[in-house]
Amino acid sequence: MRRLIVKRMLQTIPMLIAISIVSFLLIKLAPGDPVQAYITPEMGPTDIERIRENLGLNDPIHIQYIRWLKNVLKGDLGYSLVNHRPVLIQIKERLPATIGLMSTSLIFSMIVGIIVGLLSAANQNKLFDRIVTLISYLGISIPSFWFAMMLIFLLSLKLKLLPSIGMRTIGVHSTWDLIKHAIMPTLVLSIQNIAVIARYIRSSTISQLKEDYVIVQLAAGASRNEILYKYVLKNAILPVITILGMSLPSLVSGAFITESIFGWPGMGQLGVTAIFSYDYPLIMAITMFSSLILILGNLLSDVLYSVVDPRIKELN
């Protein structure tokens, strides 16, 4: 099993390199000119050229890339072209909010998705199941930003229950305040994954219920509930770990939208702002970091799966 983990880790290295090249090139080839950010009306062409030279924007592109990569490996991600603060520091500031939101949402959607999917399968084709099926269709089809708007309209504007923006009320440092701010973003970020997981658990439970071991257990005197919640559950739940890896991309892209709408001070919101201000170093760093989250998440779910599933353990 250690070999499997090492192998999987080695696989991620070319991916990381490729991602850094791809994102670097994409941003480098973009038409917006970052020098614009430094130009004031009084500056002449020589001033502009000097700034361009200083920023290293005149070097050949592979030199720029290698310089950037070296710096990245040293932990120096450069400075924001807009506010001139170190990129790494900005990301460090933002990362906890994003990771916090993502992991809360992941745990929340796993719990709800599994329970709902299981109950739905246990009551296949009954009213509960039909309602769940319909709701999960809605869950995968609803535009998350619109869901957010509707929640804000209902819970913030009309009922005035929850704050619609930010992570904390200024001056207030209570956990309850944080929770209140986090409820809507978590819901919005989770809705799609809940639907996906519930659908997945439902169909895998239904197919597990047709397995021979179920009738064997029934014949050995197990009750339907025992079979469902003990024997079938474990079989149906294992692949969810893989689903977890699969749902990461939607989680990451969801974070960009959700954080922007709710003014959640995370990396996603930073990324969208960076795009609007043509802030290359920041965009590159965020591309790298969000890819990193994806790759590590996938790695983690693969490794976890091989630890949990006895059949894979055996193969290695």
Partner: protein
Amino acid sequence: MKDSLLEVKDLEVTFFNRNGKVRAVRGINFDVKKGEILGIVGESGSGKTVTNLSIMGLLKGTGKVTKGQIIYKGENLLNKSEKEMLKIRGNDIAMIFQDPMTSLNPVFTVGNQITDVIMRHQKLSRKEAKKKTIEMLKMVGIPSAEERYNNYPHEFSGGMRQRAIIAMALSCKPDLLIADEPTTALDVTIQAQILELLKELKEKLNTSIILITHDLGVVANICSRVVVMYGGMIMEEGSVEDIFYTPLHPYTKGLLQSLPKTGGKMKERLIPIKGNPPNLANEIKGCPFADRCPYTMDICREKQPKYYYDGENHRGMCWLLDKSINGKGENHEE
């Protein structure tokens, strides 16, 4: 039938589909005596598995017992609540299935699955149950049972798995074991071992066994009595000797002719039974075998035959046995 452990009386099982109903079992009677191995033989679709699932109260989907009684130790199982049946299944009546590769849950250890069954029915601590599990594993011939306890099913070979499943089924010393094609999915050499094991365990634990199979060869090996089913009905019932040496029903004869004989001449041809089993969704007026029978008469398609007895315990359901119809019983006079 004083010494009967189980009596099935006039059992009918019907499946209700969108398109109508399928009468899978059409009124059958048989009994299982204490300590015997009863073979139920038939092709797939003959109703043999459905019959046994009804005994367990495990009919799936739209299937329902529409008539009859299943008397186990003097009580009708069909009147029992699901809660009472939970106590009977696995404890009084156990069942093993065809495919040992899929019969065990892949993500629990073999030992755990057996221990669970023991703890479900007996007031034992986990430790005692585990001890008993290991005992059982030893009894069914699994070497180094203590280590094997913690193995997952995929670490067992097919034959080992079937042994483990037998251990699980017998772990609570049931009075009746229903074995549904227990050897079909196994290699021939392992088949013989498993049959031998079943025979041995029957002696040791005094368990009655219903052995469901499509293979008369398996029956010859270990059964004392045989029920031959076709189209949801019992075509013939008798001792193994009756069935093999003096079969009454053309279907039984057909089955025997399609069986390779170990001692027979090499040139002897196997004669398959032509045609396919009847579609049970259709109403069958006469004998279900009429369409495939080489001796079909007009009456066979119109009226269902009665049972004709050759001795007290050997009966067949065929018009050919009725002297008043054509004056000649095929092979046997009553």
